[in-house]
Amino acid sequence: MMNVGIVSYGAYIPRYRIKLENIAAVWGADGQSFINGLQVKEKSVPDLDEDTVTIAVEAARSAIKKQNIDPSRIGAIYTGSESHPYAVKPTSTIIAAAVGAEPVLTAADFEFACKAGTAAIQTCMGMAGSGMIDLGLAIGADVSQGAPGDALEYTAAAGGAAYIIGTSDLVAVIEDTYSFTTDTPDFWRREGMPYPEHGGRFTGEPGYFKHVTSAANGLMEKIGTKPSDYDHAVFHQPNGKFPQNAAKMLGFTMDQIKTGLVVPMLGNTYSGSCMIGLAAILDEAKAGERIFMTAFGSGAGSDAFSITVTDKIEEIRNKAPTVKQLLENPIYLDYATYAKHKNKIKV
């Protein structure tokens, strides 16, 4: 495949947070045990006027700003989310208008639970790598919903990241990608239903771990690498425990995953999860360093990527907010205000 990779990237995280202990208090649960069990302390909450579209736009604009990209070069926009505000009418066309990429481009919205954004990256890789387009914009963004009182409520968060994929002026080369996909109903949401359903413990081994390890091992075998070849690794982060366990199972160390492990302060941003983790790594990675990313989406599938940072990474430092900066200065909400922000109160 032609040399293809990341030309620029950007992330966006809303400023509001709620602490897990505040959620637990409402439901009469033991907050500390949830914090320990999930290894998450707090999660992000969208503002009343934010949604997947606004988050995606801010992330995309951030990516464009970092490299001063001419938006007319963008030939494709794909936004992956499980909380697109319209069931029919693509988020991606609104983004096209908001970044000035209209009208000569193709666009569509993706859905694959938490890995819709990485699926978009793979699509853009193919389109750019084959010469079909000059640049592709792949976004993963969500304002995910957890049913009140359900386990998922503790981690369902809001955020997104955007990647501009191309074949030249790369800040990171994507050497290869490998996916493992099966029909595994570990977590789903029916059309019209406000909250998702999940299979409880079934989401672990047959879901997350089977697919993540299969895709990760499959990629390393295909390209002949091993965990110690990488400086950083990032796995889908539905909570703090799963990516740490996956790392152990595959032979990655805690040191390798620590930069990309954003979930303790952020929660699970679903389609944004891996992609924000990767952005956190790119914010700090040095030229020549290698990154291993494996996303997971329920339903189920995993996309694994082997990435090498180029020396161009220094050029785009600090031209737009880093993940660290986006995590700073949070505004904490109580449960009632959080419920209002998440439209859990029916008016």
Partner: protein, 129 residues
């Protein structure tokens, strides 16, 4: 607001695209096709504003306009963009932070929606620098 009325002004609302009269060099946002200084002698071109400006005056609205009840109370301000044009927009911050002269920059947010079934209106608001 109807579909076509909103759609017509999408680039202007999303991207702060206004106009500029090259005859007298005045910048206009919201966009004006007729320069009040030059009228038919004016030469109007499109102009994309940077989105940086300062708060000229503001209020905190406690009795919301129709459709804005959930956000109440919200900050409404007149912001003078650096290029010279002034516009009305919401400023997202705690009401105690609002100051005349405060520097702000633009962000992309939801302005509202027609109804639960209807169109969602996106546009530009401002946050403190």
């Amino acid at each position: 607001m109807t579909v076509s009325r909103f759609w017509r002004k999408i680039p202007h609302r999303y991207n702060l695209i206004g106009t500029h009269c090259t005859t007298c060099n005045e910048y206009y946002f919201p966009p004006r096709q007729m320069c009040p200084n030059c009228r038919r002698d004016g030469n109007i071109e499109s102009h994309k504003f940077e989105g940086n400006g300062e708060v000229v005056t503001y209020t905190v609205i406690h009795s919301a306009a129709k459709g804005f009840e959930m956000q109440t109370p919200y900050n409404l301000a007149i912001i003078k963009l650096d290029e010279g044009a002034s516009l009305t927009a919401q400023v997202i911050c705690h009401r105690d932070e609002m100051r005349i002269g405060m520097r702000v920059h633009s962000v992309f947010r939801k302005l509202g929606e027609e109804s639960e079934k209807g169109m969602i209106y996106y546009g530009t608001k401002f946050v403190p620098d």
